[in-house]
Amino acid sequence: MGFWGLNLQIIKMLDKNGIAKRIAQEVKDGYYVNLGIGIPTLVANFVRDDIEVEFQSENGILGMGPFPFEGEEDPDLINAGKQTITALPGASYFDSAMSFGMIRGQHVDLTILGAMEVAENGDIANWKIPGKMVKGMGGAMDLVASAENIIVAMMHTNREGESKLLKKCSLPLTGVGCVTKIVTNLAVLEVTDKGFKLLERAPGVSVEEIKEATEGTLIVEGEIPEMAI
């Protein structure tokens, strides 16, 4: 039983790559996209190669490419996670004020970032846990306050099994009423005036299981399709 039970768990929900793969479907031709650290970074690996997309890293590059080959790392060419990267043909560099001008001015089409908590009104908390060392918000507050199209990539529950989709965030906020869509290991949800609207289920996950893992108001209308990934 133990073996099969475990196996079933693995089949049923998405892993981090699965979440990234599903989010990649939201990336459309001609989009400028800002990817946060963690699961969002993986999204770049799954974007269709028949569409044109440019990735922005807020430290000052548009047209960010993959990691360099060994021996070709350049200390003057990094991403917002301080990792060495490359620049693709057509890339550009700019200063921090212009970079956040792109973000604040809503020239970036899609922002994908991680979160510790999301509330049913679209509030997001992802920068501070009281009592723990605060590392800072970096560009997260600028991104969430400015972008029109924000997708959160995260696990549906935390390590203790508690829901991260809440009626109200318990942690200090990063931004208010800003999240539009959430992709978790269990579901795709849209933030609406009335709460989290369930759009899709992860393969093998039931609506009941999603309800159980969601503390905030969950709106289920009609048949909920399984994600096609």
């Binding site: 360099p68 003057d76 301080k82 990792q83 956040f100 600028d142």
Partner: protein, 235 residues
């Protein structure tokens, strides 16, 4: 040409003293003014306020000033990579003002361009906006953020000429251009200092008017914080 060159880093830092507020360019360890930081360590200036997006790592960048307890207050957006920083912050020795990254850039640029303050949506409804004036424009809420005031701005460029014109390289540009002219004295250190006329005026990122002192930097280490590579595909 108005000559902005100084002979070396110690001449560049003349007038810097205890208790001052400094801006330092760089993102992570990329594009940091390594020579100015070394000189600040050597001078052992104390009770400093440093405005810089990050605070270096334990043994490089602003971490070197933290090791010697030279900094009283840090204004940054992200300070995650530094154990000594964490220790001083938790013990209360170090005051930390966390500011959203785009707001940090805007507050520097406001000082550069003569705006006393700017409105930004970043941080509205969060603890960052506490005690600050907020205002609605076109149905959206904004927070009033005041321009920074600093005594010195230390920036690092790739190339510069004796007139103080600067060109930056790659993502080492980051906060450096927005700090130029945002302090009473802007000190630029460059990897390559050339004669006026050698840089194409079309390619200048920062005109020399924003720079008071420029010098040829030495011994750049340019440390990489996160070395990430991919494997060559085998055919």
């Amino acid at each position: 040409m108005i000559n902005k060159t100084v002979r070396n880093v110690s001449e560049a830092l003349e007038g810097a003293h205890d208790g001052m507020t400094f801006m330092l360019g760089g993102f992570g360890l990329s594009g940091i003014p390594e020579n100015a930081i070394s000189e600040l360590v050597r001078l052992n200036l104390k009770n400093l306020t440093c405005i810089s997006n990050n605070a270096g790592v334990d043994d490089f960048g602003l971490g070197l000033l933290l090791q010697k307890k030279q900094i009283d207050k840090m204004v940054s957006s992200y300070v995650g990579e530094n154990a000594e920083f964490e220790r001083q912050m938790l013990s209360g020795e170090l005051e930390v003002e966390l500011t959203p990254q785009g707001t940090l850039a805007a507050k520097c640029q406001a000082a550069q361009q003569g705006f006393p303050a700017i409105y930004t949506p970043a941080g509205y409804g969060t603890e960052v906006a506490m005690g600050k004036e907020t205002r609605e424009f076109n149905g959206k809420m904004y927070v009033l953020e005041e321009a920074y005031k600093a005594d010195f701005a230390f920036v690092k460029a790739w190339k510069g000429d004796k007139a103080g014109n600067l060109i930056f390289k790659g993502t080492a540009r980051n906060f450096n251009p927005v700090m130029c002219g945002a302090a009473t004295i802007t000190v630029a250190e460059v990897e390559e200092l050339v004669e006026p006329g050698e840089l194409d005026p079309n390619q200048i990122h920062i005109p020399g008017i924003f720079v008071q002192r420029i010098f040829q930097g030495k011994n750049y280490e340019k440390r990489i914080e996160q070395r990430t590579v991919r494997q060559k595909e085998t055919l």
